[in-house]
Symmetry: C2
Subunit: 347 residues, 2 copies
DNA sequence: TATTAGCACTCATCGTCATCGAGTGCTAAA
DNA sequence: TTTAGCACTCGATGACGATGAGTGCTAATA
């Protein structure tokens, strides 16, 4: 796709149109480009180039006498082969780091804060997909008897993620019994991920001795139930939703409704971010490319974050396709790396 | 204020204007009211009455040749002394109950679900303020050593609300030690509310024996820290934000921005709901009455919910001042009672 | 005296129409 | 190959009049 645009000048013009469009949000004409951007050619020449670019599907003309607007494809080409991503300035990095001040935070708070950091530095919405429970390392399980036959299970991960469930048991159990269960399980499950824990529990349940050891059986059953639901699911933190309202292209209510519906549903955005977990480094979905969402004009810039070698989740920025990619791409990249580093310490 | 409106007919007219306005959202004229609402008077008479009501500040005329619109004061009079709140129909009650299907939920899920129920039945936004931690009953405390000098504390309430904090300790502690602490505290603190727990801890720390018992001292200190923050704060669940986008009066972006900013900030709405915790039964804030919010045209219909005799939090519906009060008031009322009943079982 | 019919008046809304100007494509000259 | 020149397109803007819903006032009526 990089070879799609033939000459240096065409590339310059495409870049100019996009930069101008990103800044102004209105179709951009040949004059403006010829004047600024020091191409040293006349508007007429620019017009010719633009006509070529339009034929290639990179630019688009809303109506005959209007300027040009980049298409999603045009943005794609620009991002893949024209724009050069510079590093974030040292000052910016410092400012981002400073946003995470304070003592040792809980992982959830760290992630929530990250969504805010992303949004405030991008002036768009920041999104952070939490790690799936199945990926986190087991630390401890507790059972607490809330009512005679209602037990709360609390799972704590190595990194300090807490997850609780309510289990309905058929016969009433005493707290003493429950304490025994948890002591037993805490010994058995050290140093596994929750996914491994789940499998381990299944293995154990098959062993013969379970048949003879009621304690064991019950403990296994209970924890199995606690793990049964949604350990493969992630949560989504969204920061700075209202920033999106400042984008003039979202001024009409219909568009806004779609976006805020997606915020409320979350599942669609989660699916999209899930996808981006596979690829390393920064990932970009431009407008219609993310078919999942019935949202035209919306782009995502995402990056997975890790701890050690394990990919835990994804974070990113959501904004209009007309977004300052050259600024936000390094922002997302840096934030992901910073978060990964902070998590490395915690996990 | 009830006596503000002199005659029966005036009241009927005020009611008619409000009903018509709630339905249509546009200024309502004398003809429409004379025709429907069987007043058996001519439009001219209605006009005279309307002029009187305007003088009283209950109606308002956007411009000379337009119909009338109720003012916030007009709505207040209507709600306080005209509208009669009927019971929710049995069918509606059934439908609401059915929304809470499924097994024993966690309290948080129950509250979150409630915000959704409120929004879906009102077609507006539903809000639920969670109980302050300080009000809930202590069940259990656990300490977990995440890293040598980082300890996670987990508080569990009787009703199964889980709250965790991270505490930074100066010298490293073993898990065994921590287990001793928690055993000790769990014995000490049974059957207190968290507020009482906090005070109890302070008392204990003053006793002489603490000076001689290092274990004791450390345990107290640790739990004290865990309780230090935000046990007087509440969380806010908001359901059905996007419903508000359907209200034509919020079509303009500026208004929308204000509202969604409030959703993101939350603190203003929390303050407002906090206020309504004092009054028993349904509470109504009409437009400018809730000066806290810089939101014209927004009303809140709220009600506290309880468990036993204790007021735990508030729930309600947030919508345009032009809202179907006669339907939503009983909805909020019933939902608060239903939730209270469900919580009574849990607490 | 309270109500109502009648009527002139007001004013937001809507469609029409002309103007304006940014931007284009094309042609011919450089 | 580039560019100056020019006719053309078309959305945006604003003026204008027609429309009609709704009013307030006055005089007639019950």
């Amino acid at each position: 796709m990089a070879g799609l645009v033939k000459g240096e000048r065409s590339r310059r013009v495409l870049e100019a149109v996009i930069l101008e469009y990103i800044q102004g949000g209105v179709p951009v004409g040949s004059r403006a480009i010829a004047k600024r951007y020091g191409l040293n050619v006349s508007p007429a020449t620019v017009r010719n180039v633009m006509a070529d670019l339009e034929e290639l599907g990179l630019l688009f003309q809303p109506h005959t006498s209007a300027g040009r607007v980049p298409t999603d494809l045009g943005l794609r080409v620009y991002i893949d082969s024209i724009v050069q991503i510079q590093q974030l300035s040292g000052a910016d990095r410092e400012r981002i780091k400073r946003s995470y001040q304070g003592g040792v935070p809980r992982v959830e708070d760290l992630l929530k804060e990250t969504s805010k950091v992303l949004s405030s530095f991008s002036k768009q919405a920041g999104v952070v997909l939490t790690p799936r429970l199945s990926k986190i390392g087991f630390k401890r399980i507790e059972f607490i008897r809330l009512r005679p036959n209602i037990v709360m299970t609390i799972l704590v991960s190595k990194a300090g993620i807490v997850h609780n469930t309510i289990v309905d048991v058929e016969e009433s159990i005493t707290q003493d019994e429950l304490d025994k269960y948890s002591r037993y399980l805490n010994g058995l499950l050290q140093d596994l991920t929750l996914r491994q824990v789940k499998m381990r529990l299944l293995e154990e349940m098959k062993k013969e001795k379970v048949l003879f050891d009621r304690l064991l059986g019950k403990a296994l059953e209970l924890s199995q139930q606690a793990l049964n639901e949604n350990i493969e699911e992630s949560e989504l933190y969204i920061g700075g939703r209202t920033n999106l309202l400042d984008n003039p292209e979202f001024a009409d209510v219909e568009q806004m409704r779609r976006i805020f519906n997606a915020f409320e549903e979350k599942s669609k955005i989660i699916d999209l971010l899930d996808k981006s977990m596979a690829g390393k480094g920064v990932n970009i979905f431009i407008g219609s490319e993310s078919e999942l969402l019935d949202m035209e004009n919306v782009s995502f810039i995402t990056s997975p974050y890790t701890s050690g070698n394990e990919i835990l989740g994804t974070l990113g920025v959501m904004g209009p396709t007309r977004m300052d990619y050259s600024r936000i791409i390094p922002l997302v990249d840096y934030t992901a790396k910073l978060l990964s580093k902070m998590l490395e310490e915690a996990f």
